[in-house]
Symmetry: C2
Subunit: 257 residues, 2 copies
């Protein structure tokens, strides 16, 4: 009589792909469902600093890449899921907000037909703008727009159009990727547009390394904002005309006229 | 010699007020820091269905109210914190997104000066639009606007202006409180405006009771959307012109022209 053994993971097993949000950095902001997905994973894929947050263990392969081409990383993850592995793609913040989820679906669109049967799930996380807003008080407590200020994947003109439109309609705004070394002049231009569209007295907050030990948060009037207040690790939040301070807090009231 | 004892909680102890997000409904989406705050609370305050999610225990008083006046609830919470209690105000989703955080700061503004010294913190949660987006795929993977469609606290004209502005500038959109019995015609009007501003082929998703056992999600073209597809328990997400389906998923690509 042979001994009963747990069958090895074979190609016949159904693979899965989970795209999970790790939140902004503080481990206490990770949800239970994300922890559970990580505990069940055979493979974790992601950009180096995010994969560094995952504890190594037997049976888990960590695929940390420095590759900035997110669709390549997504394709690799889909390939492994198609081989029967339980793959988790890790994103900081929420994977659906300027992160890995859209890249996975773009890769899925370019892949073989049978990938469409794969078990693919997105697990939300605390996105940087909401972590920053919570640290500040409630600057996004009224209608707001979330804008990626990087022109890597869209023309800069479109970004300018959106800043003007959002400002004119009285939206508060949250900016991801506000400034990089390769395009330092663009954020200066964004501030000019915002001063015109929102008025110089409108409050703007710069939240760097949100929820990390190095967190640094500053709030000034748009009139006093300068481009070097932001870098790629900064979340920028612009209020609407009603946004104001109360004690240590910055908030936007729920009402508008 | 007297025995050393833990001092009782007195008025001299510093009270605190935490405004915590419980996420959309699934307990696995609550963060650890919110659980920890609830475990340390002496008093939990909130709207009945949210307080029902908190397990009773010795030393914890639950204040479930049916009062829709959020500033009254916030004032009560601040009063208890000022008396030295450890108060947690619970919100569904994220407290900073059309929930209790702004109401607390409005109440703080109207309260006595010494409330400004209170220890007040906002703990983010998974907000309904990001939970709905994750269930759908990644419809908010590009620039988007979050709009509260209720005209309780702002004029309906302003909502129309914002729908037109966001549509014209190519934002995807997420709508909170899309439709109530008291204003059934307004959501019909919103759909008209969206068809004009975004084009009839643009996808719109209706996510009711997101992450709850009763969850129901539908995606149609704006041309085929009807007002009764939404009620107050529905999160509505409108894509931009690039938003499309791939297999069971709906996503917005990261790029735009």
């Amino acid at each position: 009589m042979t001994q009963s053994v747990t069958p090895p993971l074979t190609k016949a097993d159904t693979g899965s792909l989970v795209i999970a949000g790790l939140g902004p950095g503080d481990e206490a902001m990770v949800t239970d469902e994300v922890r559970q997905a990580l505990a069940a994973a055979t493979d974790v894929v992601g950009y180096i600093p995010y994969v560094k947050r995952i504890a190594p263990r037997d049976g888990l392969t960590l695929h940390a890449t420095d590759n900035r081409v997110e669709v390549d990383r997504a394709t690799h993850a889909l390939e492994m899921a198609a081989e029967g592995k339980r793959v988790v793609v890790v994103s900081s913040g929420d994977p659906g907000v300027f992160a890995m989820a859209s890249a996975v679906f773009e890769a899925l669109e370019n892949g073989p037909q049978d990938w469409l049967d794969l078990d693919i799930r997105v697990l939300p996380g605390i996105t940087a703008m909401l972590a920053a807003a919570a640290q500040l008080g409630a600057p996004l407590g009224h209608d707001f727009a979330a804008i990626n200020l990087s022109d890597n994947l869209k023309p800069w003109d479109l970004i300018e159009t959106r800043l003007r439109a959002a400002g004119a309609a009285g939206f508060a705004m949250a900016f991801y990727n506000p400034r990089s070394k390769s395009r330092p002049h663009q954020f200066a231009r964004a501030l000019e547009i915002l001063r015109e569209a929102c008025g110089p007295e409108t409050l703007i907050s710069f939240a760097r390394d949100v929820t990390k030990p190095t967190q640094n948060i500053t709030t000034v009037r748009l009139a006093d904002a300068t481009p070097e207040m932001a870098d790629m690790r900064t979340m920028v939040i612009v209020g609407n005309r009603d946004t104001r301070r109360i004690g240590r807090h910055v908030f936007t009231p729920r009402y508008a006229e």
